[in-house]
Protein backbone atom coordinates (compact mmCIF):
# COMPACT_ATOMS: atom_id res chain seq x y z
CA UNK A 1 0.00 0.00 0.00
CA UNK A 2 2.71 2.40 0.99
CA UNK A 3 4.57 1.55 -2.17
CA UNK A 4 1.48 2.11 -4.26
CA UNK A 5 0.88 5.55 -2.75
CA UNK A 6 4.49 6.42 -3.36
CA UNK A 7 4.12 5.59 -7.05
CA UNK A 8 0.98 7.72 -7.35
CA UNK A 9 2.60 10.55 -5.43
CA UNK A 10 5.64 10.51 -7.68
CA UNK A 11 3.64 10.34 -10.91
CA UNK A 12 3.73 14.05 -11.82
CA UNK A 13 7.46 14.15 -11.22
CA UNK A 14 8.10 11.01 -13.28
CA UNK A 15 5.91 12.31 -16.09
CA UNK A 16 7.72 15.63 -16.23
CA UNK A 17 11.11 13.91 -16.22
CA UNK A 18 9.91 11.67 -19.03
CA UNK A 19 8.81 14.67 -21.10
CA UNK A 20 12.14 16.40 -20.57
CA UNK A 21 13.94 13.16 -21.45
CA UNK A 22 11.95 12.89 -24.67
CA UNK A 23 12.72 16.50 -25.45
CA UNK A 24 16.42 15.81 -24.97
CA UNK A 25 16.36 12.84 -27.31
CA UNK A 26 14.14 14.36 -30.01
CA UNK A 27 14.33 18.15 -30.09
CA UNK A 28 17.05 19.60 -27.92
CA UNK A 29 19.69 21.55 -29.84
CA UNK A 30 22.15 20.62 -27.10
CA UNK A 31 21.48 16.91 -26.54
CA UNK A 32 19.62 15.39 -29.48
CA UNK A 33 20.91 14.67 -32.98
CA UNK A 34 20.19 18.33 -33.71
CA UNK A 35 23.29 19.29 -31.79
CA UNK A 36 25.37 18.92 -34.96
CA UNK A 37 23.77 22.15 -36.15
CA UNK A 38 25.18 23.90 -33.09
CA UNK A 39 28.78 22.71 -32.81
CA UNK A 40 29.56 25.10 -29.96
CA UNK A 41 26.47 24.28 -27.97
CA UNK A 42 23.17 26.08 -27.88
CA UNK A 43 22.23 26.96 -24.33
CA UNK A 44 23.81 29.99 -22.73
CA UNK A 45 24.43 28.41 -19.38
CA UNK A 46 26.03 25.31 -18.00
CA UNK A 47 24.40 22.88 -17.45
CA UNK A 48 21.86 23.35 -20.26
CA UNK A 49 18.31 24.34 -19.35
CA UNK A 50 16.92 20.82 -19.80
CA UNK A 51 19.74 19.24 -17.81
CA UNK A 52 19.24 21.81 -15.07
CA UNK A 53 15.50 21.13 -15.02
CA UNK A 54 16.07 17.40 -14.73
CA UNK A 55 18.42 17.87 -11.78
CA UNK A 56 16.15 20.44 -10.12
CA UNK A 57 13.03 18.27 -10.41
CA UNK A 58 14.90 15.19 -9.22
CA UNK A 59 16.30 16.99 -6.19
CA UNK A 60 13.48 19.32 -5.22
CA UNK A 61 10.39 17.50 -6.47
CA UNK A 62 7.65 18.49 -8.86
CA UNK A 63 6.58 21.88 -7.54
CA UNK A 64 9.81 23.51 -6.43
CA UNK A 65 11.71 21.82 -9.24
CA UNK A 66 9.29 23.17 -11.84
CA UNK A 67 9.55 26.68 -10.45
CA UNK A 68 13.35 26.52 -10.45
CA UNK A 69 13.26 25.27 -14.04
CA UNK A 70 10.94 28.05 -15.12
CA UNK A 71 13.20 30.61 -13.47
CA UNK A 72 16.17 29.14 -15.31
CA UNK A 73 14.50 29.21 -18.74
CA UNK A 74 13.45 32.82 -18.24
CA UNK A 75 17.03 33.60 -17.26
CA UNK A 76 18.22 32.07 -20.54
CA UNK A 77 17.41 35.09 -22.72
CA UNK A 78 19.48 37.15 -25.16
CA UNK A 79 20.18 39.87 -22.64
CA UNK A 80 22.13 37.92 -20.03
CA UNK A 81 25.75 36.76 -19.93
CA UNK A 82 26.53 33.05 -20.15
CA UNK A 83 27.27 31.53 -16.77
CA UNK A 84 27.90 28.41 -14.78
CA UNK A 85 24.55 28.09 -13.09
CA UNK A 86 24.21 24.99 -10.94
CA UNK A 87 21.09 24.02 -9.00
CA UNK A 88 20.99 25.28 -5.39
CA UNK A 89 22.26 22.93 -2.68
CA UNK A 90 19.42 20.63 -1.62
Amino acid sequence: MENFLKIIFNLPKRLLLLIIGLYQVLLSPDHSWLKSAYPYGYCKHYPSCSEYSKLAINNFGFIKGSLLSLKRVVKCNPFVEPSIDLIPNP
Binding site: P29, W33, L34, K35, S36, A37, Y38, P39, Y40, G41, Y42, C43, K44, Y46, P47, S48, C49, V73, V74, C76, N77, P78, V80, P82, S83, I84
Partner: protein, 241 residues
Protein backbone atom coordinates in the same frame (compact mmCIF):
# COMPACT_ATOMS: atom_id res chain seq x y z
CA UNK B 1 -3.62 22.56 -14.27
CA UNK B 2 -6.59 24.93 -14.43
CA UNK B 3 -4.16 27.74 -13.69
CA UNK B 4 -1.93 26.74 -16.58
CA UNK B 5 -4.79 26.59 -19.06
CA UNK B 6 -5.99 30.00 -17.88
CA UNK B 7 -2.48 31.36 -18.32
CA UNK B 8 -2.22 29.80 -21.77
CA UNK B 9 -5.59 31.18 -22.75
CA UNK B 10 -4.83 34.74 -21.71
CA UNK B 11 -1.18 34.99 -22.71
CA UNK B 12 -1.08 32.94 -25.93
CA UNK B 13 -4.50 32.10 -27.34
CA UNK B 14 -6.42 35.34 -26.93
CA UNK B 15 -3.68 37.69 -28.18
CA UNK B 16 -3.20 35.49 -31.26
CA UNK B 17 -6.93 35.28 -31.93
CA UNK B 18 -7.35 39.03 -31.51
CA UNK B 19 -4.38 39.83 -33.73
CA UNK B 20 -5.78 37.51 -36.40
CA UNK B 21 -9.23 39.08 -36.30
CA UNK B 22 -7.83 42.61 -36.05
CA UNK B 23 -5.68 42.13 -39.18
CA UNK B 24 -8.61 40.46 -40.89
CA UNK B 25 -10.74 43.54 -40.22
CA UNK B 26 -8.22 46.13 -41.35
CA UNK B 27 -6.42 44.71 -44.39
CA UNK B 28 -7.98 45.31 -47.78
CA UNK B 29 -9.44 42.18 -49.35
CA UNK B 30 -10.03 40.48 -45.95
CA UNK B 31 -7.86 37.48 -46.85
CA UNK B 32 -7.01 35.13 -43.98
CA UNK B 33 -3.94 33.89 -45.87
CA UNK B 34 -2.48 37.38 -46.03
CA UNK B 35 -3.36 37.84 -42.35
CA UNK B 36 -1.43 34.71 -41.40
CA UNK B 37 1.58 35.88 -43.40
CA UNK B 38 1.50 39.27 -41.64
CA UNK B 39 1.05 37.64 -38.24
CA UNK B 40 4.02 35.36 -38.88
CA UNK B 41 6.26 38.23 -39.92
CA UNK B 42 5.27 40.07 -36.76
CA UNK B 43 6.17 37.10 -34.53
CA UNK B 44 9.46 36.66 -36.40
CA UNK B 45 10.36 40.33 -36.01
CA UNK B 46 9.85 40.10 -32.27
CA UNK B 47 12.12 37.05 -32.08
CA UNK B 48 14.64 38.35 -34.64
CA UNK B 49 17.28 40.00 -32.41
CA UNK B 50 18.26 36.84 -30.55
CA UNK B 51 18.48 34.83 -33.76
CA UNK B 52 20.49 37.54 -35.45
CA UNK B 53 23.09 37.60 -32.72
CA UNK B 54 23.78 33.89 -32.76
CA UNK B 55 24.16 33.80 -36.55
CA UNK B 56 26.60 36.68 -36.46
CA UNK B 57 28.98 35.04 -34.07
CA UNK B 58 29.28 31.85 -36.11
CA UNK B 59 32.04 33.25 -38.28
CA UNK B 60 34.02 34.47 -35.29
CA UNK B 61 33.72 30.99 -33.83
CA UNK B 62 35.29 29.36 -36.84
CA UNK B 63 38.41 31.44 -36.28
CA UNK B 64 38.59 30.28 -32.69
CA UNK B 65 38.19 26.62 -33.62
CA UNK B 66 41.79 25.52 -32.89
CA UNK B 67 41.75 27.06 -29.44
CA UNK B 68 38.38 25.49 -28.71
CA UNK B 69 39.57 22.05 -29.70
CA UNK B 70 42.57 22.52 -27.43
CA UNK B 71 40.26 23.30 -24.50
CA UNK B 72 38.05 20.34 -25.30
CA UNK B 73 41.07 18.05 -25.21
CA UNK B 74 42.41 19.59 -22.00
CA UNK B 75 39.14 19.27 -20.06
CA UNK B 76 38.09 15.95 -21.55
CA UNK B 77 36.77 14.52 -18.30
CA UNK B 78 35.64 17.73 -16.64
CA UNK B 79 32.53 19.12 -18.29
CA UNK B 80 32.16 21.95 -15.83
CA UNK B 81 35.78 23.02 -16.18
CA UNK B 82 35.40 22.87 -19.94
CA UNK B 83 32.32 25.09 -19.82
CA UNK B 84 34.13 27.54 -17.55
CA UNK B 85 37.20 27.74 -19.79
CA UNK B 86 35.09 28.20 -22.92
CA UNK B 87 33.07 30.98 -21.39
CA UNK B 88 36.28 32.74 -20.39
CA UNK B 89 37.53 32.37 -23.97
CA UNK B 90 34.32 33.85 -25.37
CA UNK B 91 34.57 36.73 -22.96
CA UNK B 92 38.20 37.47 -23.87
CA UNK B 93 37.30 37.56 -27.54
CA UNK B 94 34.10 39.50 -26.94
CA UNK B 95 31.92 37.02 -28.77
CA UNK B 96 28.90 35.08 -27.69
CA UNK B 97 28.13 32.07 -29.84
CA UNK B 98 25.47 30.73 -27.53
CA UNK B 99 21.78 31.13 -28.07
CA UNK B 100 19.16 31.33 -25.40
CA UNK B 101 16.51 28.79 -24.56
CA UNK B 102 13.72 31.28 -23.92
CA UNK B 103 13.01 32.24 -27.57
CA UNK B 104 13.09 28.55 -28.47
CA UNK B 105 10.77 27.62 -25.63
CA UNK B 106 8.37 30.44 -26.55
CA UNK B 107 8.02 29.19 -30.11
CA UNK B 108 6.31 25.97 -29.13
CA UNK B 109 3.36 27.47 -27.22
CA UNK B 110 2.98 29.99 -30.06
CA UNK B 111 2.74 27.11 -32.53
CA UNK B 112 0.18 25.31 -30.37
CA UNK B 113 -1.75 28.57 -29.92
CA UNK B 114 -1.85 29.18 -33.65
CA UNK B 115 -3.03 25.63 -34.22
CA UNK B 116 -5.89 26.21 -31.79
CA UNK B 117 -6.79 29.53 -33.39
CA UNK B 118 -6.90 27.99 -36.86
CA UNK B 119 -8.81 24.99 -35.60
CA UNK B 120 -11.46 27.05 -33.86
CA UNK B 121 -11.67 30.49 -35.50
CA UNK B 122 -11.36 29.22 -39.07
CA UNK B 123 -13.68 26.25 -38.71
CA UNK B 124 -16.66 26.84 -41.01
CA UNK B 125 -18.66 24.10 -39.27
CA UNK B 126 -18.89 26.09 -36.02
CA UNK B 127 -21.08 29.17 -35.61
CA UNK B 128 -19.30 32.51 -35.68
CA UNK B 129 -20.03 33.45 -32.04
CA UNK B 130 -18.30 30.36 -30.69
CA UNK B 131 -15.46 30.78 -33.15
CA UNK B 132 -14.73 34.29 -31.94
CA UNK B 133 -15.05 33.60 -28.21
CA UNK B 134 -12.26 35.45 -26.42
CA UNK B 135 -12.26 38.56 -28.57
CA UNK B 136 -11.32 41.78 -26.75
CA UNK B 137 -14.13 44.36 -26.50
CA UNK B 138 -12.29 46.84 -28.74
CA UNK B 139 -11.86 44.40 -31.62
CA UNK B 140 -14.80 44.29 -34.01
CA UNK B 141 -16.28 40.88 -34.61
CA UNK B 142 -16.66 40.23 -38.34
CA UNK B 143 -19.90 38.65 -39.56
CA UNK B 144 -18.00 35.81 -41.15
CA UNK B 145 -14.42 34.71 -41.77
CA UNK B 146 -13.55 33.17 -45.10
CA UNK B 147 -10.74 30.64 -44.56
CA UNK B 148 -9.12 31.07 -47.98
CA UNK B 149 -5.64 32.10 -49.12
CA UNK B 150 -5.95 34.44 -52.12
CA UNK B 151 -9.45 33.03 -52.55
CA UNK B 152 -7.93 29.72 -53.68
CA UNK B 153 -6.73 27.49 -50.88
CA UNK B 154 -8.89 26.55 -47.87
CA UNK B 155 -6.60 27.08 -44.87
CA UNK B 156 -8.89 25.31 -42.42
CA UNK B 157 -8.32 22.01 -44.23
CA UNK B 158 -5.07 20.07 -44.66
CA UNK B 159 -3.15 20.77 -47.85
CA UNK B 160 -0.57 18.35 -49.20
CA UNK B 161 1.04 20.94 -51.48
CA UNK B 162 1.62 23.43 -48.68
CA UNK B 163 2.96 20.67 -46.43
CA UNK B 164 5.53 19.71 -49.04
CA UNK B 165 6.51 23.34 -49.60
CA UNK B 166 7.01 23.68 -45.84
CA UNK B 167 9.37 20.68 -45.89
CA UNK B 168 11.30 22.07 -48.86
CA UNK B 169 11.71 25.44 -47.19
CA UNK B 170 13.02 23.74 -44.08
CA UNK B 171 15.43 21.66 -46.14
CA UNK B 172 16.76 24.85 -47.71
CA UNK B 173 17.22 26.41 -44.31
CA UNK B 174 19.07 23.48 -42.74
CA UNK B 175 21.31 23.26 -45.82
CA UNK B 176 22.28 26.88 -45.23
CA UNK B 177 22.67 26.42 -41.48
CA UNK B 178 25.03 23.45 -41.61
CA UNK B 179 28.53 24.38 -40.49
CA UNK B 180 30.98 23.75 -43.28
CA UNK B 181 33.79 22.31 -41.22
CA UNK B 182 35.84 19.84 -43.25
CA UNK B 183 37.37 17.99 -40.32
CA UNK B 184 34.14 16.54 -38.91
CA UNK B 185 34.16 12.98 -37.64
CA UNK B 186 31.78 10.31 -38.91
CA UNK B 187 29.15 10.64 -36.17
CA UNK B 188 28.93 14.40 -36.61
CA UNK B 189 28.50 13.87 -40.35
CA UNK B 190 25.76 11.30 -39.85
CA UNK B 191 23.99 13.62 -37.45
CA UNK B 192 24.11 16.59 -39.77
CA UNK B 193 22.78 14.35 -42.54
CA UNK B 194 19.80 13.55 -40.34
CA UNK B 195 19.18 17.20 -39.52
CA UNK B 196 19.23 18.15 -43.18
CA UNK B 197 17.14 15.33 -44.60
CA UNK B 198 15.11 13.60 -41.88
CA UNK B 199 13.73 16.61 -40.02
CA UNK B 200 12.16 18.26 -43.10
CA UNK B 201 10.58 14.90 -43.95
CA UNK B 202 9.10 14.66 -40.46
CA UNK B 203 7.75 18.18 -40.96
CA UNK B 204 6.04 17.17 -44.19
CA UNK B 205 4.44 14.11 -42.60
CA UNK B 206 3.03 16.22 -39.76
CA UNK B 207 2.18 19.28 -41.88
CA UNK B 208 0.00 17.50 -44.43
CA UNK B 209 -2.31 16.41 -41.61
CA UNK B 210 -2.81 19.86 -40.05
CA UNK B 211 -5.06 22.75 -41.10
CA UNK B 212 -3.12 24.41 -43.95
CA UNK B 213 -2.81 27.67 -42.00
CA UNK B 214 -0.12 26.04 -39.88
CA UNK B 215 2.13 24.91 -42.76
CA UNK B 216 1.64 28.39 -44.21
CA UNK B 217 2.99 29.80 -40.95
CA UNK B 218 5.86 27.32 -41.12
CA UNK B 219 6.74 28.29 -44.71
CA UNK B 220 6.77 32.01 -43.95
CA UNK B 221 8.71 31.67 -40.71
CA UNK B 222 11.33 29.45 -42.40
CA UNK B 223 11.70 31.75 -45.40
CA UNK B 224 12.16 34.64 -42.99
CA UNK B 225 15.00 32.74 -41.34
CA UNK B 226 16.59 32.00 -44.72
CA UNK B 227 16.39 35.68 -45.70
CA UNK B 228 17.94 36.66 -42.38
CA UNK B 229 20.80 34.23 -42.94
CA UNK B 230 21.45 35.50 -46.47
CA UNK B 231 21.42 39.07 -45.23
CA UNK B 232 24.02 38.32 -42.57
CA UNK B 233 26.23 36.33 -44.94
CA UNK B 234 26.21 39.15 -47.47
CA UNK B 235 27.01 41.74 -44.86
CA UNK B 236 30.00 39.70 -43.78
CA UNK B 237 31.36 39.58 -47.32
CA UNK B 238 30.97 43.32 -47.73
CA UNK B 239 33.01 44.05 -44.62
CA UNK B 240 35.70 41.71 -45.87
CA UNK B 241 35.62 39.10 -43.16
Amino acid sequence: MAFISLLYNDIIYRPLLNLLVFFYNVIPGHDVGVVIILLTLLIRLVLAPSFHKSLKSQKAMNDLQPKLNELKEKYKNDKEGQAKAMMALYKDNKINPLSSCLPLVIQLPVLIGLYQVFRIALNPAVDIVTRLKGLYPFVNAPHSISPFLFGLLDLSKPSIALGIIAGLAQFWQSKLMMPKTPGQDATAKAMSFQTTYVLPLVSVVIAIKLPAGLPLYWVVTTLFAVAQQYYILRKKQETGN
